[in-house]
Symmetry: C2
DNA sequence: GCTGGCACTCACCCGCGTTGAGTGCCAGGC
DNA sequence: GCCTGGCACTCAACGCGGGTGAGTGCCAGC
C-alpha cells in the first residue's frame, strides 16, 4: 500500500500539472508544497508511484504527469467535491431563473455549465420514460387525418400525424380524447401501454381501426422518444485543450456530434450519484484523452435526465464536480417549480 | 480594366491555392496551367493584380494568395456553380427521404451538407413568420390555467402556459377555440394580429380578460419565435482549417455558438438567390477568415428559411455553391410533400 | 529512512550557413 | 508595345551544433 506521504505527493503532482500543463519535477514540487522532505525523497516516492502506474514520464529526464490510473486514485481517494461559493450559487440561480420555457432552461443550463467549468457542456432533455403525461390532445385536420399532441409534465411537447383507416366523427373524437386523458393524465409513461390496452372495445366497430391506430402511434412516440435529444455548448473551450491541436481536438468534435455516443457517455451514470469517467475508461476511442463528469438531475427525488461536461483528463476535478453538482441541483429545482 | 489573360491568371491562382493551401508562384502556375505565356509574363500580370488588390504576398519573395477582393471577383465573374453529378443527386434524395419528422429533416440536412462540403453546416428551422397556421389548440390544465399549442404547416409545434386572470369555463373555452381556428387556420402569421383583434368583444365581460391574455400570448409567441432555432453540424471539419490552429478556430467556434450571430449571417441572404459572403464581408469579427455560402429554401416557391455552410475563405466555391443549392432544393421538395 | 552530492540525459533554445522558390527589373526580340 | 530570357536579390525553411537547465537515478553518509 502507498504511504500517506506518497499519496500527498500524487495529490501535489495532480494539482500542479492541472495548473501548469507541464510535467512536474521533484524540485519544483518541494518548492511549491511544504511536504517537509527533500527533493531526493520525493524522487524516490515518484519512482514508487511510477512503478505502480499512477504517474509517467513523457520522456527520460522530464518531470512526471499523472496517468489515467493516477487521476482515478486522485478522484476516488484524494479529492473531495469543491462546493460552490455563495456568490456563485446566487449567480447560478439568477441565471436559470430567467428561463421562459423548457428549451430556454436547457439552453441556459448548457451555457452556464460551459462557462463555469470552461469546458464542453452536455445537457440531456428531461426524459420521457420517467416523466408523466400531462395531457394528450387529438385534433382533426381532415376527415381521415388526425394530429396527436403529447404534453409531458416537464413541458415537452411531441406531435405526430395520423392517417386513419376510416373517417372518424367529431363525437367519437371527443369521446376518445376524454377517455384517453382520464386514463393516462398524470400517469407515468411506462404505465401507459396497459392502461389503454382495452380502449378500442369501448367504440363502435367501424371506429376501432382508427382508435387502434391512434393508440399504436401514441405508444410508438413513447418508444421513439426514449432516444433523447440533447444540447451541447462551450465547444470553443476545446481550443484550450493542449498544444498538439488537430490530432487531439478532431476526434472529440466528431464524437460530440454523434448523439448516440454522447447519450451512452451520460447513460452510464448511476441514478443519483455523480460519475467521473477518466480517459480510456470512456468506451469511445476519440475520447481517450478526455474525462467526463456527469450526474442525473430531476424535478423530484428521482433523476429524469443527465447532464455533464467533457474536458481534458487534465482538469480541475474538484471544481468541475462542484459546478456540475450545483447546476444539476438548481435545474432540478427550476423544473420542479414550473 | 483587367485583360482576359489576367483574369485567367487570377482564376488559376485561386484554383491552385484552394488545392494546395500554399502561396502559388509564377513558375508553378505556368507549369500546371497552359496559359501560353512564360513565367516572366505571368509575373507582370501578378504585379498588376497585386496593384489592384486582388492578390497579396504573405512576405516578400513568396508566392501570391488571393485576397478577399480576389475571391469576390472569382465568385462573381470567373466561377460558375458546379452542378452535382447524377449519383450525388440520387444520394442526397435517398438520404433525405428517410426522414420521419421535422427535427429529423433538419438533422439529416445538416449532416448531409457537412459531409458534402466538408465544412460546417448551418440549417435554420422553417420560419414561423412566413408559414401559415395549421391549428391552434387550447387545453385546460387547471381552472385558471391554460395551455396554448400552436401548430404550423411546416410541422412545427410551440406551446405556452397561460395563467388566466379569472376562471374560464369549458364552454367558453370551446367557443374560443372554435372562433380562433376559424379565423386563423390556414392564414399567414403576419396576418394573425388583425384577424383576432376584435375577438374579445364576442365574449361575456368576465371572460374578456382571459381572452385578451390568450391572444396576447399567441401574438407574443409569433414575435418571440421569429428568432428562429437552428442546427449546426460538421464542426469537426474546422480542424482542416489551416495550420495556425487555436487562433483561427477559436473565434469561429465562439461565433457558431451565438445563435444571434448565425441568424444574422444567414439573414442577409436575398430571398431566392444564393449569397456568398467572403472574409471581412462578414460583419462578425471572428469570422473574418471564413466565407459563408447561404441560400433560402422553402416548401413552395417562397423561401421559408435559410441554410448554408461556413468554411475557410480558401474554399472550393463552385463545388460548395453547387452542394448548397442542391441540398436546399431537395429539402424544399421534402417539406412540400409532408 | 531521509538527505546531499554527483554524473548523466535530453528537450529546448539560439545562432549560422545553405538551399531553393519566388520576385523585380532590364535589355533584347517579335 | 508586349512578351521573353536572363540576372541579381530576398527571405522563409531546413539542418546542424553547441550551450543551457530542469530533471533523473544512484550512492554513500548521517
Amino acid at each position: 500500500m502507498l504511504s500517506e506521504r506518497r499519496l500527498e505527493v500524487l495529490r501535489a503532482i495532480v494539482h500542479d500539472y492541472v495548473g501548469t500543463e507541464e510535467p512536474v519535477g521533484s524540485k519544483a514540487l518541494t518548492e511549491r508544497h511544504s511536504l517537509g522532505v527533500s527533493p531526493a525523497t520525493v524522487r524516490n516516492d515518484m519512482a514508487a508511484l511510477e512503478e505502480e502506474g499512477f504517474i509517467a514520464q513523457p520522456h527520460t529526464s522530464a518531470g512526471r504527469i499523472p496517468t489515467d490510473k493516477g487521476y482515478r486514485l486522485f478522484v476516488d481517494k484524494l479529492a473531495g467535491v469543491k462546493p460552490m461559493t455563495a456568490p456563485e450559487r446566487r449567480a447560478i440561480q439568477n441565471f436559470l431563473d430567467g428561463a421562459v420555457d423548457l428549451d430556454d432552461v436547457v439552453g441556459r443550463t448548457v451555457r452556464l455549465l460551459a462557462q463555469l467549468t470552461r469546458q464542453v457542456a452536455v445537457v440531456q432533455y428531461p426524459s420521457l420514460t420517467r416523466s408523466t403525461v400531462r395531457h394528450v390532445e387529438l385534433l382533426s385536420l381532415a376527415p381521415a387525418r388526425l394530429m396527436l399532441v403529447l404534453i409531458t409534465d416537464t413541458g415537452r411537447v411531441e406531435q405526430r400525424m395520423i392517417d386513419c383507416p376510416a373517417p372518424f366523427g367529431e363525437t367519437a373524437l371527443a369521446d376518445l380524447r376524454a377517455r384517453l386523458n382520464s386514463r393516462v393524465a398524470g400517469r407515468r409513461f411506462a404505465d401507459v401501454p396497459q392502461l389503454v390496452q382495452d380502449l378500442p372495445e369501448a367504440f363502435e366497430t367501424e371506429d376501432r381501426g382508427t382508435v387502434a391506430t391512434v393508440l399504436s402511434t401514441l405508444l410508438e412516440t413513447l418508444v421513439e422518444e426514449t432516444e433523447e435529444r440533447l444540447m451541447i455548448g462551450g465547444t470553443a473551450n476545446l481550443t484550450r485543450f493542449g498544444h498538439d491541436f488537430p490530432l487531439t481536438i478532431r476526434p472529440v468534435l466528431e464524437a460530440l456530434e454523434e448523439q448516440v455516443v454522447l447519450l451512452k457517455l451520460l447513460g452510464e451514470v448511476q441514478d443519483s450519484g455523480m460519475a467521473v469517467r477518466i480517459g480510456h475508461e470512456n468506451a469511445h476511442e476519440g475520447l481517450s484523452s478526455t474525462s467526463v463528469v456527469s450526474v442525473g438531475y430531476g424535478s423530484g427525488s428521482e433523476a429524469v435526465a443527465k447532464l455533464g461536461v467533457v474536458g481534458p483528463t487534465r482538469m480541475d476535478y474538484p471544481g468541475t464536480m462542484g459546478a456540475v453538482r450545483a447546476v444539476a441541483r438548481y435545474v432540478g429545482q427550476i423544473l420542479a417549480e414550473s
